[in-house]
Amino acid sequence: MSSFNSATASLSLQDADVAVPRSTGQPTLAARLLGAWQAAWPTLRRFLLAWPFPLAIFALWSAAAHFEWVAPQVLPSPETVFNTFGDLFNSGELRTNGVISFNRVVSGFAIGASSGLLLGVLMGLSPTFKDYVYPIFRAFAQVPSLGWLPLLMMLVGIDEALKIILVAKAALVPVALNTLKGIEGVPTRYIEVAKVYGFNQWQLLVRVVFPAAFPMIWNGVRYGLTHSWLALVAVELLASSEGLGFLIVYGRQLYQMDVVMAAVVVVGAVGFVLDKVLATIETRLLRWRHDAF
């Protein structure tokens, strides 16, 4: 924004329709502080409002553990969980399992998202291909990832392939669907502009269709990653001997609820961070969309 302002400052144009942000001399310090406050307030407010609810739950948990409303074997105190977390972290168990889960989700997601993108693009661009594939794709998408687990176990065993396939499937569906919707939703008015300036098919695709569909596609990618992560933890719960999901099952089997809860917190945190990374990339890539929606 600052480069834009400096550009307008050097401009002598003062037309009725040209909205030149005029500066009225040097603003006073108070006015500037007020301006900064007004700019920062919405972000600050959102940040502040995010806290009361989790803190209340945490307080409830602490109270429940402290007064033993629930047996401590079932609901360990926050302190115990925190200590267990430290132990798991120091012993390297958390890191080993975390890295394994992370690698699985990354490779599965990469496969799933790229094939989902391809599928979505093909369906979006070719109505014939869509007619062939879309109905069966919808049917396939209606079966939750875990619904395929028994069949897949028979086919590929319970090794890495099983996890990768299920994680990939979890990413493929939202990516393909959103890519399809994004491409179908490219406004005709943009396509007409491309036609007027004699764009060929490739130029139309790269310079109009993809940029216009990109916000929607990226939405699908974000959903896809979240779903991948959820699917992975679920598969690890059911059929694995390592990974964060396995840590949860392992803790439950040994009746160590503190391990279960520490692992749950880590799973949640990783999922949150993964989505946050994509959200940050999104704001970088979609600067042009500023305030547009």
């Binding site: 834009f4 307008t8 401009l11 144009l13 009725a16 502009v193 007027v196």
Partner: protein, 271 residues
């Protein structure tokens, strides 16, 4: 300077098919436009004036009759015809400079020549200094200026304007009409403006084509022999404007002017 095109429309007929029934939208349109001429087309909505423009630009096909540019029948879209739509239709992911360059993508110029032409046209529409601004940072009037620059940047022979200022406020509109006249004179280009604003049509046009709807036909062509820049307040201007406006006001029916006295018509119950 661009070569200004001669546009010839001969016995143009166009119909859509609605529920199996043919629906005529344009009927027997014949219009000959000289190189460098500015022709305004006015009509109420539904008179087919936008369809006519879409046929000339090449976004609609399937018509009877002929549309000739410099004697050659037009086929599809081409860089020798530029258009400004009612909405600016800038790509929101490109900045001003990149949006204007869209017009030159397939122009077959060297990069340096493209850059020069883009810069010239940004200056022509008065947006120097805004090259790196994105559409969301521009007002409606500025966006429409960018759209005009994009339409002109490859120096087309004909500039088509489809209600380009319809969505702008009155002050901005009046100002951009003045600007459009300046740009048109600077480029020496043939221009066709479709509008429903009679004053705009008379202010800008060498001739004003009045169309009537269902099906779209040319009702009358009014010459505007006034020197530019025109004074909207002058007597001669208002006379021509009133003359064009009179084409839209059907003479009211006799019984509306002198209502028949019918028995009891002036009576009413008192509650």
């Amino acid at each position: 300077m661009a070569h200004a095109g001669t546009l010839e429309i001969k016995d143009l007929n166009k119909q859509y098919t609605v529920k199996g029934e043919p629906l005529p939208v344009l009927e027997n349109i014949s219009l000959s436009i000289k190189p460098g001429e500015f022709v305004s087309i006015v009509g109420s909505s539904g008179c087919g004036k936008s369809t006519l423009l879409r046929l000339v630009i090449g976004l609609e096909e399937d018509y009877q009759g002929e549309i000739l540019l410099d004697g050659k029948r037009i086929v599809g879209t081409s860089l020798d015809r530029g258009i400004v739509f009612q909405e600016h239709r800038l790509f929101p992911w490109l900045n001003v400079e990149q949006n204007v360059s869209v017009g030159l993508l397939n122009a077959g110029l060297s990069d340096a020549a493209k850059k020069k032409s883009v810069q010239e046209h940004i200056e022509l529409v008065g947006l120097k200094g805004f090259e790196t601004a994105y559409p969301y940072q521009l007002s409606g009037g500025m966006s429409q200026r960018v759209a005009i620059a994009r339409a002109l940047v490859n120096r087309p022979e004909v500039l088509l304007l489809d209600e380009p200022f319809g969505a702008l406020d009155a002050l901005t509109r009046a100002h951009l009409q003045q600007e459009l006249q300046r740009i048109w004179e600077a480029e020496g280009i043939t221009a066709i403006l479709v509008t429903h604003d009679v004053e705009e049509a008379v202010y800008l046009g060498d001739r004003v084509v009045v169309m009537q709807p269902r099906p779209g036909r040319i009702k009358r062509i009014v010459d505007v022999p006034l020197a530019r820049s025109r004074d909207r307040g002058s007597y001669a201007f208002s006379q021509i404007k009133d003359d064009v406006l009179s084409e839209f006001s059907d003479a009211p029916r006799e019984e509306l002017i002198n209502p028949q006295e019918t028995l009891g018509a002036n009576w009413q119950f008192a509650w």
